[in-house]
């Protein structure tokens, strides 16, 4: 098995390390760091907006670049968390808790270096685990039937909406909106047109890229404007890596030596689980580190372990999220949903057969992630002064770049003005969804997986002759059904118990 892995990785490296592959990997990693720097503009938006720029590239090279943007943003997002107490994206929120206090203590340099090392270790461990697990999971998934696939999609969406969202109802509604948009076009099973209103441009369905760019790109941008980011002056910060105080002390490395591994392991598991992802991984990583520390009172006041744990976790999680994407074809987050959309746009169908049918692509992507993490640690340390300079650019000058990329990109995909209007409408909806607590990520995930969910659900219905018994007759389906029920029922049960206790306390308080 080890020999297989080595030979597959050699094949992957021959693609990822080719001059073109390496060039676009560096571009993707650089763009990812820049995307991560701008608060409110996360990896999902970054990938969606930059998809049109990969036109004209080989599919493998295009995906290598887009994946570079995805995990590169995890590195970049922490720079603003540490320096200005503003996370570049949700997965780096936990890093502000100790990152910013470290900067306030005058230890911004060591904090930036340690986060880069933690990100590298987390990312690399994540990729090693992908190398080991993705082929095995793909083998295992080869025996999956429609009921298993439908349940994995349902579990993923429910976990995304119940674990990550502020409001479960709004999360579920967001997912259903995605399914509803996904039903526009020709029905794959009967060939009947649905919700096309006679428009020939809608026969092929609502193209996901325009919706994703609208929800994530324009929607996020409008929300940033709503919160007044465009009225804020640029942050003038200077950091030089030649300063002696820039580098971490021996004590920093010594104290964090186990934190790197714990954070990475927790993050990877969170990443593999559909729907949880890097944000949850980083929060759990931080909480566990604080819980097991002998001196938890130091956390939140500039403790290096409090920065290392979430950083290792969010990078391992971003790698972990690639496992279900590659081996099952099921993304677990908004960003990986956009990546899946890019896969499909390039004619690549992720799933158990992808590793068998297109090993060059899969192993090229995995090998590029090893190289990407090496490039990113070098960039994160030696190019920090350059990235800090990006914060000098006022947001008011960044807005037009994003708008032009979104609009021109959405039009250029199919030269369709209808799709460009879909982008504008999705932007307004994305803004409202973000403002009122809905989940644009759940909408995009459901839109991308909509046709697969419908097909697998109907196949299960037809095979079981309307009884849906496949959901409990097959062992994997049964386990997934139990998990699904637990996700639905446990929060309700906990709420009932909590309310019961509160009522008891109230009645005891009223008793004289």
């Amino acid at each position: 098995m080890l020999a297989d892995i080595v030979s597959n990785l050699s094949l992957g490296l021959s693609i990822a390390a080719s001059p073109q592959g390496f060039l676009f990997l560096v571009i993707g990693a650089f763009l990812g760091m820049v995307v991560g720097l701008f608060p409110g503009f996360g990896p999902a938006a970054g990938i969606a907006v930059l998809i049109p720029m990969t036109f004209g590239l080989e599919p493998t090279i295009a995906i290598i670049m887009l994946a570079g943007i995805y995990y590169g943003s995890m590195y970049g997002g922490t720079i603003t968390s540490i320096l200005i107490n503003t996370p570049g994206e949700s997965a780096t929120v936990a890093s502000t808790i100790d990152g910013y206090p470290l900067a306030k203590k005058g230890r911004a340099g060591p904090a930036l270096v340690m986060q880069a090392i933690a990100s590298f270790i987390g990312g690399t461990i994540g990729v090693i685990l992908i190398t080991a697990l993705a082929p095995s999971l793909a083998d295992f998934a080869a025996s999956f039937g429609p009921s298993e696939y439908f349940l994995i999609i349902a579990v993923g969406l429910l976990m995304l909406t119940t674990l990550m969202g502020d409001n479960k109802f709004k999360g579920l509604i967001s997912a259903l909106i995605g399914f509803a948009i996904g039903t526009v076009g020709v029905d794959v099973m009967s060939g009947q047109q649905r919700f096309t209103f006679g428009s020939p441009e809608l026969i092929g369905g609502v193209y996901f890229v325009a919706v994703a760019i609208g929800l994530f790109g324009i929607g996020e941008l409008l929300h940033c404007i709503f919160t007044g980011q465009h009225r804020q002056p640029a942050k003038r910060l200077r950091i030089g890596f030649r300063d002696k105080e820039f580098w971490p002390s021996k004590q920093d490395y010594y104290e964090s030596r186990f934190t790197f591994w714990r954070g990475s392991a927790i993050g990877f598991v969170a990443g593999v689980l559909p729907g949880s992802g890097a944000t949850l991984g980083s929060i759990i990583g931080y909480s566990v580190e604080k819980k097991i520390a002998k001196d938890p009172e130091k956390f939140g006041k500039g403790e290096m372990r409090g920065l290392v744990a979430p950083e290792a976790a969010n990078n391992a999680a971003s790698a972990g999220a690639m496992v279900p994407l590659i081996s099952l074809g099921i993304p677990g987050s908004g960003a990986t949903a956009v990546l899946l959309g890019a896969f499909l746009m390039w004619g690549l169908q992720p799933g158990p057969l992808l590793i068998v049918n297109d090993p060059g692509f899969v192993w090229g992507l995995i090998a590029s992630m090893y190289l990407g993490n090496m490039i990113l640690i070098a960039m994160s340390i030696f190019a920090i002064p350059l990235f800090v300079r990006f914060l000098d650019i006022p947001y008011v000058n960044v807005v037009p770049v994003i708008v032009l990329l979104c609009v021109i990109g959405a039009f250029a995909i199919n030269a369709s003005i209808i799709e460009t209007w879909i982008l504008v409408v999705s932007g307004a909806i994305g803004f409202a969804m973000k403002k009122y607590g809905y989940s644009p990520a759940a909408t995009v995930l459901a839109l991308v997986l909509g046709s697969m969910a419908e097909e697998t659900f109907l196949q299960t219905y037809i095979i079981s002759q309307g009884t849906m018994s496949l959901f409990w007759e097959r062992p994997v389906s049964l386990i997934l059904s139990i998990i699904l029920l637990m996700i639905l029922l446990v929060p309700v049960a906990l709420a009932v118990i909590k309310r019961g206790r509160r009522d008891d306390e109230t009645s005891q308080g009223q008793t004289p």
Binding site: L176, T183, F226, G228, Q229, F411
Partner: protein, 169 residues
């Protein structure tokens, strides 16, 4: 506004379900699910959840309604580090967001008529001279250089199809 958005979603959910029911076949002659089966499930679930959601939002709005006898209170809200006066709490820079949205809509509307390059330049000029009035020369240069660069990138390097105007670009 939250309750209006929730109400809008409910109306759309009802419209989606009714249109699906009237235009799509639910079951085939042999009793198998047809094209309307899945949309009907999605539509009905949407109606139920949107109704509960609307009920919750209306109740929240009702309980948060300021009473007419309560005196106006001062205070600030924090939005990404920006302190807004209490009167603007909840509305933020909604006017700015609306202006940008209208500019984007205008940009898309004129793109097919004026061509991509000209539309980009007009959008940039409008945006920058609304939100960054002090930098006149800088705005002019930026409004020409960025669209020129992006037009060149998409049109020449990526060979993408972009709308052309009467001037041929």
């Amino acid at each position: 506004m939250k309750q209006w958005f929730a109400a809008g979603l409910l109306v759309l959910a009802v419209g989606y379900t009714l249109y699906g029911l009237s235009s799509l076949t639910l079951l085939t002659a042999s009793g198998r699910p047809a094209a309307g089966f899945f949309p009907l499930m999605v539509g009905l679930l949407l109606i139920v959840l949107c109704s509960i959601n609307l009920w919750g939002d209306v109740r929240e709005w009702w309980s948060e309604r300021p009473s007419s006898s309560a005196p106006a209170t001062g205070g600030t809200v924090s939005a990404l580090g920006v302190d807004l006066p209490a009167g603007e709490a909840g509305t933020g820079y909604s006017r700015d967001a609306l202006i940008v949205f209208l500019y984007i809509s205008g940009f898309v509307a004129i793109m097919n008529i004026a061509g991509a390059l000209l539309a980009m330049i007009v959008f940039m000029l409008a945006f920058l001279f609304t939100f960054n009035r002090t930098q006149v020369i800088g705005n002019m240069i930026y409004s020409l250089v960025l669209p020129g660069f992006l037009y060149g990138l998409f049109r020449l390097l990526l060979n993408a199809s972009l709308p052309t105007g009467p001037l041929g670009f």
